[in-house]
Amino acid sequence: MNTYKKFIHIITSIILALAISACSKKSDPAPSFDESKLAHFSIEFDNIVGERTLVLDNVNNLYTNAKGEKFSISTLQYFISNVKLSTSTGETYTVNQDSSYFLIKGADRSTRFTKMRVPEGDYSKLTFTIGVDSLRSTMDISKRTGVLDPASGHAGMYWGWNSGYIFFKLEGNSPSISDDVNGDPTGNKKFRYHIGGFGGYSSPTINNVKTVTIDLTTAGVAKVRSDRQSNVHLFVDIMKVFNGSKAFSIAEHPSVMFSQFSTNVAQNLTEMFRHDHTEN
């Protein structure tokens, strides 16, 4: 009797153990949402141009936009900030603001990974800002360190004369640009898109701070666990700058900086991001 009971007990335990391990392998249930227990997570901003990869200074192999204009890219830089994640069950997590500012540089591939720490969980939605929010844009200078230091090694992402960050910078050349005052009078056929504007200090000015939300359910939810690195791989299609819903011609607008027209370009920027897959 005693032996039999023991036997049953052992068998039950084995079956239970097997069942549990089979279960966890198959469905990998989301761990309980614990904001004090953070794990590694990253979003990869993989810059592409239409059907091609981004190659800087591609003067011998130009890209072509929807208006048929050929162009090369010499500079690409943009700020990503204020990352927020949501699970399908409605929990949301906002990455600590002080570690939520990233500068993606076309010339430095290591900058394409924005690394952060978030609670373990299965995330189905991702939200981030293109640019620098108004709160941080007006914060005391001592809070602007790292990529936000207006003087740090990425000079040119800050407007000194009109205090504020340049959110997105794209420069290059296009043979479509004229050599007169409507194009580039230096004859270099250069285009410059410096998009910024956080809404103004004292009076409401243009606001090009844009929020992008990406649904991760189709191409793969991010399963963040402490024992691995979940990476959401986004394609960032720079061609959309020209071909987005507010499509424009490089020849007609070779230089867009702090102007009303910049709001069109900013709208196009929100259309650049596409979730390709997630590495869990």
């Binding site: 230091d149 009109n162 205090s163 004292s202 009303q260």
Partner: protein, 347 residues
């Protein structure tokens, strides 16, 4: 034993005397009282909580203010276009004269009473004193340098490690510390000891002459709405009917893109006019008489002309006598102590 004791005492005495003689710095520290709001001034708007003024902070800021390393070829310092004897303007230049003899488009404004400024530059765009130096340092026609490279140059200059350590506790040279030190110095550039101030504060029985008194009355009636006491500016941006310049400088509009901001420029203070000619954002008037005559008869209607200048009679009617009296009053706003204050001078 006794002799030894005596000689030790003697040496100690010499040491103490030497110390006392060689320490004007100690006296200076005793004199340093930090930032003080003049009794007849409103509350300042600068956020001192984020940047407490210290003696060492001001010394560092002053050293930076007068250091040509802030410019590309180390020739132009802040003090080049903001000269103390000209009440921190570039007297005699209609527009600022910067690196490589390049000319700017606006008249160099005074570094004065900035703790009460909500907006900087003739055309706005900057609303925090700690962020202002980015503009002149990086401007092509002013200092034409990157702040990043200024940091590099400062780190290579041995004296700065010590100056930053004294001011901020460690020798680290950062953008924020650099900006805050410059702010500390500029905030100390307070002009509040003109005859007007002494009359207002009833110091040493100071009083206006008859002309000054009558000029003060005309001033309050005809100028005081925009040039509000005691700073003699309300800090607003207005189109004062100058007529559009050949470069079509649109003023505040460039920073805001708001149509109603077109051709508006910051209302300047009227303090220290004796030292700061020429006048207006582009330095077009060489004398006070020219300015007064502009308001009397030369106001031009352009987009957003200030309503105060656009009544039944355009401009502000000023008789010859009134002009003489206003001028007498304006002369009471000159502050010689300010332009001669050794604490604000290049050392």
């Amino acid at each position: 034993m006794n002799r030894k004791h005596l000689s030790v005492l003697f040496f100690m005495a010499v040491f103490v005397i030497a110390c006392k003689k060689g320490s004007p710095i100690i006296n200076e520290i005793e004199k340093f009282v930090g930032f003080q709001k003049p009794a007849n001034f409103p509350e300042p708007v600068y956020n001192f909580a984020n940047n407490p003024i210290t003696k060492d902070g001001v010394v560092l800021g002053r050293t930076l203010f007068y250091d040509g390393r802030l410019s590309r070829d180390n020739t132009i310092s802040c003090g080049s276009c903001h000269i103390q004897s000209s009440a921190f303007t570039q007297h005699g230049h209609d527009v600022s004269h910067g690196i490589d003899d390049r000319l700017g488009i606006r008249n160099s404004p005074p570094i004065m009473n900035l703790a009460w400024n909500k907006a900087f530059m003739w055309g706005g765009g900057i609303y925090d004193l700690d962020l202002q130096p980015f503009a002149p340092i990086t401007a092509h026609e002013e200092m034409d340098e990157s702040v990043e490279n200024v940091m590099v140059k400062l780190r290579q200059t041995p004296k700065y490690a010590d100056l930053f350590k004294k001011a901020f506790g460690s020798p680290d040279i950062t953008t924020a510390r650099f900006m805050k030190a410059l702010s500390q110095f500029m905030l100390m550039c307070v002009s509040s000891n003109s005859k007007y101030d002494k009359v207002m504060r009833k110091e040493n029985g100071a009083s206006f002459t008859t002309d000054e008194m009558e000029g003060y009355a005309v001033f309050k009636n005809k100028c005081g709405t925009c040039h509000t006491e005691s700073l003699f500016t309300d800090g607003s941006f207005r189109n004062n009917g100058l007529g559009i310049s050949t470069l079509n400088d649109k003023g505040l509009f460039d920073a805001t893109l708001i149509e109603t901001d077109k051709y508006k420029f910051k209302v300047p203070s009227l303090r220290n006019l004796k030292y700061t000619a020429p006048y207006m954002h582009d330095g077009r008037f060489l004398s006070l008489n020219g300015v007064l005559e502009h308001y009397n008869s030369e106001v031009i209607t352009t987009q957003n002309l200030d309503p105060l200048l656009n009544g039944n009679r355009k401009g502000i009617a000023l008789s010859a006598t009134e002009k003489v009296k206003i001028t007498a009053f304006l002369n009471t706003l000159n502050d010689e102590e300010f332009i001669k204050n050794p604490l604000l001078a290049e050392q």
